[in-house]
Symmetry: C2
Subunit: 482 residues, 2 copies
């Protein structure tokens, strides 16, 4: 396991030393949350928790790390000594991977002495921001494909090895049927797929020989790339010739077909479909790629493109139109001398940026059909009873209220405990199980909230108690601080 302990911003360490030197290592609560969904969507998919857990478990400063920090001439020996014995001793709560999430909900909550809570900020955000971004993008792409398989194959355009490795993991969690990335396959047991490139075709004297050679080698997964020279005049006819020869040899054609990686995909796939059908290959797969994203897939579907399998590269693995998730990590409470938490709030001229104070959790509220009605951020010590009516209200326009009677709703707390006093108490499911869970999660979202453009916002309300606390802090703020 890689040692990512120094994968942090220097200011985390200068602040840590500050707390160390002033003997001010109070227990605090930090929330990691996002303020806006990628791509103006109505939801996001939480992802990356397994790697956060690995990071926390493995957190330690090696002798080399200490020597490096000493070389910076800003850390004293007593602090370096402290670091050399450092391990994480706090509690962490999180929303499990693959869960549908909404802005301002704590995705990860860290309760720990401030020196520890501060050190882990950067890596937690890095990991959660990246994987939640790609999972969210992949969910959008899969939604556009309406049940067709989406292959992730963006490794060569990913922002470095990890972006390829963990981006493919996130893409599969959100619904991709597989990835081209062999290392991700090995590390996470997800399906890997791939056939050949244009260079395969070009390295043979002619296209037919290249196809035939490939078909002889891989008769059970024979997807032929038909656009190296001329898709309709050369590629598809040569593919049909090879499929005919395979059939004549008695090969049971199953997972076979063609792939296009360029050109007008709507026009070419409709023509290719007809050529394949006319030759008796009605079940041949037509796989397409070429700078696809959710919008282009949606458009090709509308145009009746005869594509049954989609390869998505750059635009998915970088979330090209929105390449950052924007998760932040904000102080929510500081333990007072009496051992109880004092809630903290961060003001901003922008109301959206005002934080929710205190030790919180998140409930999901479903309607009688099991669809998401709203989410409710509450204080962690609040309890709810489904046999009682539940009043939800908008935290800004508070006159917008919904009263739900018993039987009309159900609730589920979506945060789970992951670390208890530094010990991991959570087993990450394997990726394919998370994929299943994520599919169920997406099924609880209305289509109106999943649509690609101008989706219906899902309400995230505050409990009455949290709302009151927030108002109290807001109104007392000027007096206390300025």
């Amino acid at each position: 396991m890689r040692n990512l302990t120094l994968l942090t911003d220097l200011y985390e360490l200068t602040m840590m030393q500050g707390y160390f030197k002033t003997d001010n290592n109070r227990t605090v609560i930090f929330d990691a949350f996002h303020r806006k969904n990628p791509c103006d969507g109505a939801y996001a998919i939480s992802c990356g928790l397994e790697q956060v857990i690995d990071y926390i478990k493995n957190l330690h400063f090696t002798e080399d790390d200490i020597a490096y920090l000493r070389s910076l001439s800003i850390f004293d020996e007593d602090f370096l000594e402290y670091l050399s014995n450092f391990h994480f001793t706090g509690d962490i709560y999180a929303i499990p991977e693959g869960t549908v999430i909404f802005p301002r909900e704590p995705i990860v909550k860290v309760i720990a002495p401030i020196m520890e809570a501060q050190l882990v900020e950067t890596a937690i955000l890095n990991i959660i921001n990246h994987q939640s971004l790609i999972a969210t993008k992949a969910a959008r792409v899969c939604y556009a494909a309406k049940g067709d398989g989406i292959m992730e194959f963006g490794l060569r355009r990913a922002q470095g090895p990890d972006a390829g490795i963990y981006g493919a993991r996130a893409a599969v969690i959100a619904g991709c049927v597989g990835t081209s990335n062999v290392l991700t396959g090995q590390m996470f047991g997800v399906p890997v797929k791939g056939t050949h490139a244009h260079s395969w075709i070009m390295s043979f004297p002619d296209e037919y020989t290249a196809f035939k050679t490939y078909a002889d080698l891989y008769p059970d997964a024979c997807i032929l790339l038909v656009d190296t020279y001329d898709t309709l005049r050369s590629g598809v006819p040569n593919a049909i010739r090879v499929f005919k020869e395979m059939r004549e040899k008695g090969i049971d054609l199953k997972d076979y077909g063609i792939r296009l990686d360029s050109g007008d995909l709507a026009y070419l796939t409709k023509k290719a479909r007809k050529m394949l059908d006319d030759a008796g290959f009605e079940d041949a797969i037509i796989s397409a790629s070429s700078d696809l994203d959710e919008y282009l897939i949606d458009s090709l579907k509308t145009q009746g493109a005869a594509i049954t399998s989609w390869g998505v590269g750059t635009n998915l693995i970088t979330s090209k139109d929105n390449p950052a998730f924007g998760g932040v990590y904000k102080l929510a409470a500081v333990m007072g001398d009496d051992g109880t938490f004092i809630p903290k709030i961060k003001l901003s001229e922008n109301s959206e940026k005002i934080t929710n104070p205190g030790n919180k959790t998140v409930y999901r509220v479903y309607d009688a059909d099991g669809m998401i009605k709203a989410d409710l951020i509450a204080l962690a010590d609040e309890t709810y009873d489904e046999s009682q009516p539940l009043l939800l209200f908008d935290p800004v326009e508070t006159w917008k209220k919904t009263l739900m009677e018993p039987g009309e709703y159900s609730m589920r707390e979506i945060m789970v405990k992951v670390f208890d006093k530094g010990e991991c108490v959570y087993d990450s499911p394997n990726v394919m199980d998370i994929q299943k869970y994520c599919k169920q999660e997406q099924a609880t979202l209305w289509d109106e909230s999943k649509r690609l453009i101008n989706p219906q916002v899902v309400h995230v309300d505050l409990s009455q108690k949290l709302y009151d606390l927030k108002q109290e802090l807001l109104h007392n703020y000027g007096r206390e601080k300025l």
Copy 2:
């Protein structure tokens, strides 16, 4: 060193097995190049070669790797046996890191048996695409800052750990004065910087106490974050109070000042500058961040914002408006039975996508002032003599010609040999030396080509011999292939 051998697309391995089974492991030449500069710029910065070298050196299939590939049920034992003894035996040429590059120039050229050349495609592209992207973006950001220091601090928004680690490396190469990323500092010996966050301020009873505590701890690098509560009414006055106390104590204020992370940076920094100046702190640094990129920095400069140091996060580390570099890896030649290379060309309806055939190299042509006049892609066996006139012509509009007389120009071949028969023959400079070289490189670009919007294109011409070869292949193509 991490084993990234399986960081490849599955199709590289299925093609490899295809070449293995058909006993068709001819030596080939592949070029990695980009077709378009990021952000509609006129140039890019090559970056990532050191990591490519590490990857190639470390290329080997472990027993676990072989076992995993076996589990996929698509590879035969003889091929797996071959892989278990695999190492790279080819030649690699590359343009050194930090070099200014232009579209269609081979950044990396691989000459190797096709099985090897194919395997390494994905990782080479992944690494070069990522780091060249971030280096190019960072060069743009530094250009906008007109000599002010740019700090890279995007780790929390980077697309995974590597994107943060190697993105920061690339940013420093292109000119950033440092990074917040401690791990990058440790790995590459680059400056790391950072002070404190809003949480530091919020964890104290009041802002003044937070500042004073910080100043006591770090009197030599005292940059105070002034925007937690109210920048002009609270933050700056409290900072000035602390600076006065430091001065009264006889502390020699050097590397000190304020940092703003929100609000109207033009307005606030001008006001803050006046407040600091009026209090006798004319040399206090004003550092600013908040969703900055090259365009916003340029705008703030135009507005006369009093910022002397800039922190750039998300928009740099993800190259947000252009998050993929788009480098490709194309077959340029295949060795014939007689041991000479047969040039290969890939056609496309889009002329820009037609590849340059053959075994090539790249010359940079400078004018008498040492500024870049044009680049010349030539065949590797061509030689040039600066005592002779040099005729350059546009490879599309061939009537556009420039004749340069001896003394009016100089030339330099910008590709170097990196691997010779599998042995590394190149020492990567350290990052700070690459930064110096990259600064010199950028100084050879005209301002007109560096400007952010609508820059002057730098011409990349073909040698007469390469031009003739390309025309011949283009015109013979239809006959041969269809």
